[in-house]
């Protein structure tokens, strides 16, 4: 039996040929949509900027030209300077690092917590499932921003707590999504087959069910990354999150707000950064959803 299985098993890519073909087809479909291509370009731009910030940014995030506050955009300061003489162009670049890192941390943590709780819930069912679902009901009974506000207020206003607050807000979405996936996949024939050859529940969840649910999770995660960037910026705009002077998009807009009429560029450029990073993610997420939805493939 063992030998038979071994002889039938090809190399890794041969074994997964159908999945690879499916993936290539998906990529092909994605390339057909100019909007998705623009989205990928925007995401690539922001990731590049975040990764190479020290080389791209002409000045440090906390560097100040005290004698040159509120300078309009010029060749020296591409996006102008803020109220304390910080170079806005450099600060927007450094902030990309911070904001993308927050968004990634939040969504990854939410996926991990959600996968564990959601798949256990979907697999065990019964009391555990009912209790977990009622708990997610409570979390989802608040709009995201407002729950995050309250949690951040309870923990204390700083960046770490802001991130924790956002994780607290976002995990129920994934717990429910993955529970739904598990419930749907659990009934399928291949799970029966896996169980028949003696696979335990943990193996079935992690080796069979989760890999088959990966696409809906990716779509949700792409769209949520944009949502987290917006929510984090909104929270830091009203005074949660980073302390004064830190290069963070929402906070930079809050600083520019008091001088909106004299120096509109202070608030404008960080806002554009939020808009375009979030737009890139939404374009790709939206395109992915269309491509992966068989009803819309026609």
């Amino acid at each position: 039996m063992e030998e038979l299985a071994a002889s039938k098993r090809g190399t890794w890519w041969q074994e997964r040929a159908p999945q690879i073909r499916e993936f290539k087809f998906t990529l092909y479909l994605l390339r057909q949509s100019p909007l998705v291509v623009v989205g990928f370009a925007l995401i690539g731009l922001f990731i590049g900027v975040a990764l190479f910030a020290p080389w791209i940014a002409p000045h440090g995030p906390e560097e100040r030209f005290w004698q040159l506050p509120q300078q309009p955009p010029s060749w020296e300061f591409l996006f102008g300077t803020d109220t304390t003489g910080g170079d806005i162009f450099s600060r927007v670049i450094w902030a990309a690092r911070l904001d993308l890192a927050i968004a990634l941390t939040v969504v990854m943590s939410a996926i991990i917590i959600g996968s564990v709780l959601g798949s256990v819930s979907g697999f065990l069912g019964r009391a555990f499932d009912e209790i977990l679902m009622r708990i997610t009901d409570v979390f989802l009974a608040f709009p995201a921003l407002i729950l995050a506000m309250a949690v951040a207020a309870a923990l204390g206003r700083n960046l770490t707590n802001l991130t924790i607050a956002l994780i607290v807000v976002w995990w129920p979405t994934y717990a429910r999504l993955i529970r739904g996936q598990v419930l749907a996949e659990k009934e399928k024939l291949y799970v029966d087959a896996a169980r028949a050859v003696g696979a335990g529940p943990r193996r079935i969840i992690f080796r069979h069910v989760l890999p088959n649910s990966i696409f809906p999770i990716i779509v949700q995660a792409t769209l949520d990354l944009g949502g987290v960037i917006l929510t984090a910026a909104g929270l830091s705009f009203i005074g949660f999150g980073a302390g004064a002077g830190v290069a963070e998009w929402g906070l930079m807009i809050a600083d520019g707000r008091s001088y909106l009429f004299q120096s509109p560029w202070i608030a404008t450029f960080p806002g554009l950064a939020i808009l375009f990073s979030s737009l890139g993610l939404n374009l790709v997420g939206d395109g992915l959803r269309d491509v992966l939805d068989p009803r819309l493939r026609r």
Binding site: A141, A153, G234, G271, L279
Partner: protein, 354 residues
């Protein structure tokens, strides 16, 4: 009440109503926990004048609200206080009871949210229809970009841009400009005092025939209303587009076409009505998000609603106001969801089978 005779629908309604109870209990547990995490819960019952309390006075308050007892007993008294309408004292709002503050600030937020909802529906639905009817044509691409930009737009930043363009730029060019914040101009208010009945100034001014205030209030609503509505307009455009496309594939649309009906009649008489159902339900769900967006919009436009009240409460660690705000938002959000679910079950019989 013929629908009540339908056993499945009746069961669904009862189950849906009963599900509110555990959520309400959970929500109250959450605010209760938060009040213990933020600081000493006794702070909820102390006014800002009483900051220098003697030990004796403090003990009186602690005993009066049972804060010296075990946690589960405290929770019990917390619930009974809530039910009696004692939600603590809002230090942010000059030591008024929290329930009074909510009554005072909520209508402003409700008015802003409703105006935004009207903007969003009035613009979003037609744009969504155009996008679906002209699928994959330039008009479709433009509306898709327009709606995706809306979803990606930081609402507070859009609010600032609108202020800059329609208040500041118009003003410095001596053109008629829109107000940059507040609900009503003080001078208009002084000349034409408004008798507040519902707290919704547009309604109150119309009832009392106070047109000077009515038009001023409308002018104040335009910018914050539009800023808040853009995100939701985008949601409606997407929803309307996809449900319209879904409906257009149905057999009865092909039948209507094959009967020789004009495309206009097919779209507006047959497709639109069915495509509206999911959009209307999304409108209900969006109401909660609208309340959240209102927090940011109110901050930028100095709009005297519960959103601005709550942000100033958080800055001052005003526990009672924060909890009151959380509770009221959760209740409103939950009621909106409930109404949507019930409407949906009533409209679409397939839901009841689930």
């Amino acid at each position: 009440m013929r629908w009540w005779a339908d056993v499945r629908l009746r069961h669904y309604v009862i189950r849906r109503l009963l599900l509110i109870i555990p959520v309400l209990i959970g929500v109250s547990m959450m605010t209760f926990t938060l009040s213990h995490v933020i600081g000493d819960p006794v702070a909820a019952y102390i006014t800002s004048q009483e900051v220098r309390l003697s030990e004796e006075q403090l003990r009186k308050i602690v005993v009066a609200h049972h804060l010296n007892e075990p946690l589960y007993v405290q929770y019990f008294y917390y619930i009974s206080d809530l039910l009696r309408g004692d939600w603590g004292i809002s230090r942010t709002d000059s030591d008024r009871p929290v329930t009074e503050s909510i009554q005072h600030y909520f209508p402003a937020t409700a008015e802003l949210s409703m105006v935004s909802m009207i903007f969003a529906l009035a613009l979003g639905i037609p744009i969504g229809i155009i996008s679906a009817v002209r699928k994959d044509k330039p008009a479709d691409h433009v509306t898709r970009v327009f709606s995706l930009v809306g979803v990606s737009m930081p609402v507070f930043w859009l609010a600032l841009l609108l202020q800059y363009a329609f208040y500041y730029q118009l003003k410095i060019h001596n053109l008629p400009s829109l107000p940059s914040g507040g609900r009503v101009d003080q001078f208009v208010w002084l000349d034409h005092p408004l008798k507040v009945i519902t707290g919704l100034y547009t309604v109150d001014s119309l009832i009392t025939g106070n047109f000077a205030v009515f038009f001023d209030v409308l002018a104040h609503l335009i910018l914050p209303g539009f800023a808040l509505s853009y995100v939701f307009m985008a949601v409606f455009v997407r929803m309307m587009r996809s449900s319209m496309l879904e409906v257009m594939r149905q057999d009865y649309i092909t039948l209507a076409r094959s009967k020789g009906l004009s495309e206009r009649v097919v779209i507006y008489r047959h497709a639109l009505r069915n495509a509206m159902i999911p959009t209307v339900t999304v409108a209900g769900l969006a109401f909660g998000g609208l309340l959240a967006g209102a927090v940011l919009t109110e901050t930028v436009f100095s709009w005297p609603g519960i959103g601005r009240w709550s942000t100033s409460a958080i800055v001052r660690d005003d526990i009672a106001s924060i909890m009151g705000f959380m509770l009221i938002i959760a209740v409103v959000y939950m009621l909106a969801n409930l109404i949507v679910d019930l409407l949906y079950a009533w409209i679409d019989p397939r839901i009841r089978l689930g």
